[in-house]
């Protein structure tokens, strides 16, 4: 069900040549095992276009860092080939790949000043001293740290270290930069600021960025495309809006954003839509047949809380189910309403705080309603 090859690949934004051969980075059926027993990365196929900002998003242990390490050359692929700019790089040493990288804990050399850290990649490339210094100055300006060149990394705050790490990964002007949870150690406010800055640098330099995170809002705000990893497999590779609005399977629907689930059995599939009999109340509703295999198969329906309405009975064109209000949380612009629907008490509806909506009371019966196109029938998960 979750073979990435089977998923329709969305068009890549800002691609120079959209055909697959123009991919700047290509994972071709790559597998990786550390212990010879389990596959940490399972047949990975991934094309990354030049200039793209691609994010690998997934829970801990899903193989994101492993993919970056293979790309950077620190871990050999057990099977398959990685191409960079059309050239296979499996046998190219890490220092010859010319890929910039921001490590999870920055890995700034503690015995060197900030300036020496930035000079390092230029010195090993035997760049003339003057030119190197000029570039370092420029890089420090880019990350808004001019005048910090003489400091040791230990004398910088977390955010400043992170910026130095970004500057160091970019100072030798690589075409590809890898970032492994670069903002993981920062507090929320700083993280948001740095997200903006990294995005800004990406746009102004036009480098290709492969970014790893397990923070979904970070992925959604920064990326051109997001590859959602789970268990060594890309579950879905899409643009952020696609990912949120049209998840291909239950894992993605659950992992990205808030999600209501209803469990049921497929009664009928027709024209890309299906009828599903909901467990616990016996009613049938319509949904988009996204990831259902056959009639009488089990399925999980996915509904975003903001796409469900509390409606008076008998609304036309809507699917409806009866529920009971369990909890109301006042959030100013909307009221977060928790209901019991079809025997589960965790159904969330965001009710806009407008005049048109009447006030609900706890314990009151309510009808929930949604459009068929907002309800996706996905692969079954245990209820």
């Amino acid at each position: 069900m979750s073979d990435p090859g089977a998923n329709p690949r969305p068009a890549v934004p800002r691609t120079l040549g959209a055909d697959a051969d123009a991919a700047y980075v290509r994972f071709d059926n790559v597998q990786k095992s550390y212990d010879g027993v389990t596959l940490v990365v399972k047949s990975l196929n991934l094309d990354i276009a030049k200039g793209e900002f691609l994010t690998m998003l997934g829970p801990s242990g899903s193989g994101k860092t492993t993919c970056l390490m293979m790309l950077a050359g620190f871990e050999p692929a057990t099977h398959g080939e990685i191409f960079l700019n059309g050239r296979p790089i499996n046998n190219v040493a890490p220092h010859k790949r010319g890929i910039g990288m921001v490590f999870q804990n920055y890995a700034l050399f503690p015995h060197m000043s900030v300036e020496e850290n930035l000079l390092f990649p230029l010195e090993v490339r035997r760049m003339p001293r003057d030119e190197a210094r000029r570039r370092v100055g420029k890089a420090l300006e880019m990350v808004e740290l001019p005048g910090f060149g003489g400091r040791r990394p230990a004398q910088l705050s977390g955010g400043q270290q992170q910026r130095v790490a970004v500057a160091r990964a970019l100072v030798f002007e690589p075409d590809l930069v890898l970032m492994d949870e670069p903002l993981g150690a920062l507090d929320k406010q700083l993280r948001e600021q740095m997200q903006y800055e990294i995005k800004h640098i990406h746009e102004s330099l036009g480098v290709t960025v492969v970014y790893v995170t397990h923070d979904q809002s970070e992925a959604l705000t920064m990326s051109d495309r997001i590859a959602v990893f789970d268990d060594g497999v890309i579950q879905q590779l899409s643009t952020p809006d696609e990912l949120y609005e049209r998840p291909q399977n239950s894992f993605v629907a659950h992992f990205i954003g808030e999600n209501n689930t209803l469990h049921g059995t497929v009664a009928d599939i027709r024209n890309g839509e299906c009828r599903v009999a909901i467990d616990g109340c016996g009613e049938e509703v319509s949904a988009l047949a996204v990831n259902v295999e056959r009639v009488n198969g089990r399925t999980t329906l996915s509904l975003r809380p903001e796409r469900v309405e509390i409606a008076p009975p008998g609304t036309d064109g809507f699917n409806t189910l009866e529920g009971r209000v369990e909890e109301l949380i006042y959030l100013g612009d909307h009221i977060r309403t928790r209901l019991t629907v079809a025997g589960h008490d965790d159904f969330i509806v965001k009710v806009p705080n407008t005049h048109a909506h009447r006030r609900l009371k706890i314990g009151e019966a309510a009808t929930i309603a949604w459009l068929t196109e907002d309800c996706r029938a996905l692969d079954p998960i245990a209820s």
């Binding site: 620190f74 220092h95 010319g98």
Partner: protein, 430 residues
């Protein structure tokens, strides 16, 4: 800026008070004092222990190295009368009288000690004093009322009392304190006029010895570094399974008696030993030209290197253990080939451990004496062997103490230099 403004507001408002009206400073000090006392009580036993077993011996050592009171105590009249002598020609009757009476009154043990010391200033003193003591005792035995002439009597006992150089040499010993032992440690001595002169040719051994000690320590330290650095690196980077095994191998020497290890080396290195036998068997070396690897300089170096190796490996290892592998990856990612990455990123970060290891090995090596004693032969002896010799055999404690103090000073200077160059705070022992 903020700090100064707070300071000013405190001074402007005068003393701050706590809730119960006591001045804040006083309360703070009171609470700190209790904590300090607790801390003091906790470290007191260790401090006392250290003082008794380390501090006091060092103080004694320093005293002995300059102490010159044995002769003064034994011959008080002589040194009083000595002030009047102009030193131009043989002393007159009063000085002889003083000497005679001192010898007559001093106990045999006192004369023994004093004469040992006098012998360092001029040889033959010891036999002269012993003979004189014996004869004076005999003379007073037959004639208890003997009252001179003393000069004649002493010269009668031994012709050497007529030799003015013996009288001159007393001048070196007239003060209760002397730097003579320090001079001796460097093949120098006081001339009769307290001027510094070279020791006689046949007594000059210490300068060579110091140089050799220094050389052995430097070579052993470098050898330990060369052998220990890669081992420490392996220890720090190998998977746990293998590194544990390696660690046991490194620590094994600590669990084996020093003597057993040295004997093992003897079996390996001697001319009829395992290594020579193997070389002969391989026909790399002729049977008649077996290598001399034991009882010389080489033997000392080889065995000391093996014994001191863990002192290098452990501190270096403990520092390397803390170096994240991410640094090497980052360096290579930035374009440095592995060798350059190692030299420019890994090695500098391991230096605090190297510093600690070098200092540790050097300090232990410079005062070593068991190994050279057993495998050093003639040209593998170190200063430590001579300190032991003077303590145990020649009983020249003054010289032994002086050499000990010089060794201690050298180590302290080393420490100070290290602190200036690297910083003691950067040193990591583990």
């Amino acid at each position: 800026m903020a700090a100064t403004s707070i300071d000013m507001s405190t001074t402007a408002t005068g003393e701050l008070l706590t809730a119960d009206g006591r001045p804040l400073k006083e309360s703070l000090q009171r609470s700190l004092r209790r904590r300090k006392l607790t801390a003091l009580a906790l470290v007191a036993p260790a401090v006392v222990f250290l003082f008794v077993l380390f501090g006091m011996p060092v103080i004694y050592l320093m005293t002995w190295s300059v102490d010159d009171t044995q002769v003064n105590n034994a011959l008080p009249r002589t040194f009083a009368a000595y002030q009047q002598w102009d030193g131009e020609e043989l002393p007159s009757e009063p000085l002889y009288e003083a000497m005679f009476k001192d010898v007559a009154e001093a106990s045999g043990i006192q004369i023994g000690r004093a004469s040992t010391r006098m012998n360092y200033a001029k040889s033959k003193w010891k036999s002269l004093m012993k003979k004189t003591k014996r004869q004076v005792k005999a003379l007073l035995g037959t004639d208890p009322d003997f009252a001179g002439p003393y000069k004649e009597a002493l010269i009668g006992i031994d012709k050497r009392w007529e030799d003015i150089s013996f009288w001159h040499s007393l001048g070196i010993m007239k003060d209760p304190y002397t730097l003579g032992y320090y001079l001796n440690s460097f093949d120098l001595q006081y001339g009769f006029g307290k001027e510094v002169v070279q020791q006689p040719e046949n007594r000059r051994i210490y300068k060579t010895l110091w140089m050799r000690t220094l050389m052995i320590s430097v070579i052993v330290t470098l050898a330990c570094l060369a052998l220990g650095y890669p081992v420490a690196h392996l220890l720090a980077t190998l998977p746990l399974r293998y590194s544990n095994l390696l660690m046991i191998c490194v620590l094994m020497p600590f669990w084996t008696s020093l003597l057993v290890r040295i004997v093992a080396w003897m079996i390996m290195l001697q001319q009829e030993g395992v290594i020579n036998d193997t070389l002969v068997w391989l026909r790399l070396v002729g049977d008649e030209s077996r290598w001399q690897m034991m009882y010389n300089f080489t033997g000392t170096i080889i065995v000391m290197t093996q014994i001191l190796l863990p002192f290098m490996i452990l501190p270096v290892y403990s520092v390397m253990k803390g170096i994240s592998p991410a640094y090497m990856k980052a360096a290579q990612n930035l374009g440095a080939p592995p060798a350059i990455a190692f030299l420019r990123v890994y090695v500098p970060q391991s230096l605090p451990g190297v510093g600690a290891g070098v200092i540790l090995v050097f300090i232990v090596a410079i005062g070593y004496f068991i190994t050279p004693e057993l495998v050093g032969g003639k040209d593998g002896q170190m200063i430590g062997n001579y300190i032991a010799y003077h303590l145990k055999s020649s009983l020249n404690w003054g010289l032994a103490s002086a050499m000990g103090v010089i060794l201690l000073t050298a180590i302290l200077i080393l420490y100070w230099v290290y602190d200036r160059v690297v910083g003691i705070d950067n040193m990591k022992m583990g």
